[in-house]
Amino acid sequence: MKLIKDLLRQKNFMFKLGLVLFLAWVLVAIFAPVIAPHDPTQGDVTLRYLPPSADYWFGTDELGRDVFSRVLYASRVSLTASLVTVLISFAVGIFFGGLAGYIGGVVDDVMMRFSEMIQSFPPLILAMVIAAALGPNISNSILAMAIIWWPNYARLTRSIVISLKSNDYVTASRVLGATHTRILTREILPNSIGSLIVMCTLDLGNAILMFSGLSFLGLGVQPPTPEWGAMVSDGVRDTAKWWVSTFPGLAIFSVAIAANFIGDGLRDYLDPKMRRSNS
């Protein structure tokens, strides 16, 4: 709580803007059915490709569906999928990374080689291949992204654990007879959580970009569920109807930039060296 208070007291406009934007999207996702003026999946083909107007703020798409309502509803899938991806990668990553860093030896070697192997693919290509192989749908694209992302967390956790475990307070705790589990969960993890949270926030932006990218390619969310990336690809067919792709794209951009602002703000706050040079 004190952390949040301190953060808000900082004179960091970008961080606050990011926070407001992100919270606004969370509210939109929760209250989409209340705010949306039209049905997101049922369209009237006679009303197809209407430009933005008072009735249809963001215009209508190829099937005569209201783009504004669809953008609102799509926030549900996109935000949930990105959050779940980051949470899974985070949980799996700190488990294996903590273990590798703490135990070292063979466990460490095997895990590092495995994560290097995954990281030697450009993430999007690997996600595309996995999502295509498993069959394109929401849960498979989340799975594909989590498979790619967890090594990042594992490596970060590992490096922090290695640097922390030789600290005096860890040795002291061991001398006092603390179990390994206790040392890991009570002494080491709380001290590494800061940089991990920064990574999670920044990754949330990346996750939303990749998730919408997969859907754009037809490898993620399937119609008629509204999703921002898939909506942008609706606009590729007829680029003159600019409103079909522009608004969902703006939505992706706003969430990604909000995550970046929040992540940068947190990092600057947690790293006093950066705080000085940015103030």
Partner: protein, 340 residues
């Protein structure tokens, strides 16, 4: 230095070995039946073709033996299989698509590095001035823009609404035909070596927008890294010493601070290049660029497994080689890395 090089090369070989296992497992375990995943429908109806396919890839043998056969087919016979979608050998297709991607990514990297370093230096020199704020906004946008959307927006604006640039493709097919002239496939190089200046102009006009969009993310990364490194370097002791000797500010920045600030930028460039390989899929699709990204997309969406494996292997090899190059460069520039 030799020891460092050998160690890096050894690691690279282990890594590529791992990558080949990963690709092999995806192609052989994920689809329920490898025949169905790797043969076209008409081929599946012919028991002779199915039997020949099973014999060629050793599908009746245990998994590890299948892997050995798979690797032998790649390394000895240079056979990556046949694309289901087109019926042509995957290796041949990759060779055909690769130059387009190579040309595009080289230009995108050039744009990203030149603009990224320039913006980063400007941002750091004018810290917290309006120009810094503007450049920071551009760089943070660079890492937050969905590039498939950005590509679409840029193309719509500069090719359709204001037709300044040609939309899509690598050259104007009605005027030129560099493909059948038998050059390197890198049309900028070809046009220069043939002395064909109108073709060079046409090729560059087609290249600039996709390269800019593709390099935008990496440019953002490099700008951010350059700025924060330079700011950190500027507050260090040796800079204070240089200043206290009465050195001119421009000399302090360019000769003393920037050199040290640029070393980590090389690493970020490597990360940026990795991202570029992914962004390619979108940019090539929207600008109808006939490259590896387009090929990867078509392979993945058609579940063309031989092509998917071929393209993943190619990209992984390129990526690992580029990273090896960056590591070596890093070791050359910063001796501390070498001796670790």
């Amino acid at each position: 230095m030799i020891r460092y090089l050998l160690r890096r090369l050894g690691l690279m070989i282990i890594l590529l070995f791992g990558v080949s296992i990963l690709v092999f497992l995806i192609s052989h375990l994920v689809p329920s039946s490898p025949e169905a995943a790797n043969l076209s429908q008409s081929a599946l109806n012919d028991p002779e073709i199915v039997a020949a396919y099973r014999a060629k890839w050793g599908l009746d043998k245990p998994l590890w033996e299948q892997y050995v056969i798979y690797m032998r087919n790649i390394l000895v016979n240079h056979d990556l299989g046949t694309s289901i979608r087109t019926g042509r050998p995957v290796l041949e297709e990759l060779a055909q698509y690769f130059p387009a991607t190579l040309e595009l990514s080289i230009f995108a990297m050039l744009i990203a590095i030149v603009l990224g370093v320039a913006f980063g230096v400007l941002s750091a020199i004018f810290q917290n001035k309006p120009i810094d704020q503007i450049l920071r906004t551009i760089s943070v946008s660079g890492v937050s823009l969905p590039n498939f959307w950005f590509a679409l927006l840029v193309m719509n604006l500069l090719c359709n609404i204001f037709p300044i640039f040609p939309s899509g493709g690598r050259y104007n097919a009605r005027l030129y035909d560099p493909a059948s002239a038998g050059g390197t496939g890198l049309y900028v190089l070809d046009a220069i070596s043939w002395g064909n200046w109108p073709l060079l102009g046409d090729v560059l006009a087609h290249l600039i927008l996709p390269a800019l969009v593709l390099g935008f993310f990496t440019m953002g990364l490099i700008t951010r890294q350059t700025r924060s490194n330079l700011l950190e370097a500027m507050s260090s002791d040796y800079i204070r010493t240089a200043r206290s000797k009465g050195m001119k500010e421009s000399r302090v920045v360019w000769r003393h601070a920037l050199g040290n600030a640029l070393v980590p930028v090389i690493t970020v460039s490597g990360m940026g290049f990795c991202n570029l390989l992914g962004g390619m899929v979108f940019v090539e699709r929207i600008f109808s660029w006939p490259g590896i990204g387009q090929y990867a997309y078509l392979a993945a969406t058609n579940l063309d497994f031989p092509a998917i494996c071929g393209v993943s292997l190619l990209i992984a090899v390129v990526y690992v080689v580029v990273n090896l190059f960056i590591d070596i460069l890093y070791g050359v520039i910063d001796p501390r890395i070498r001796y670790q």
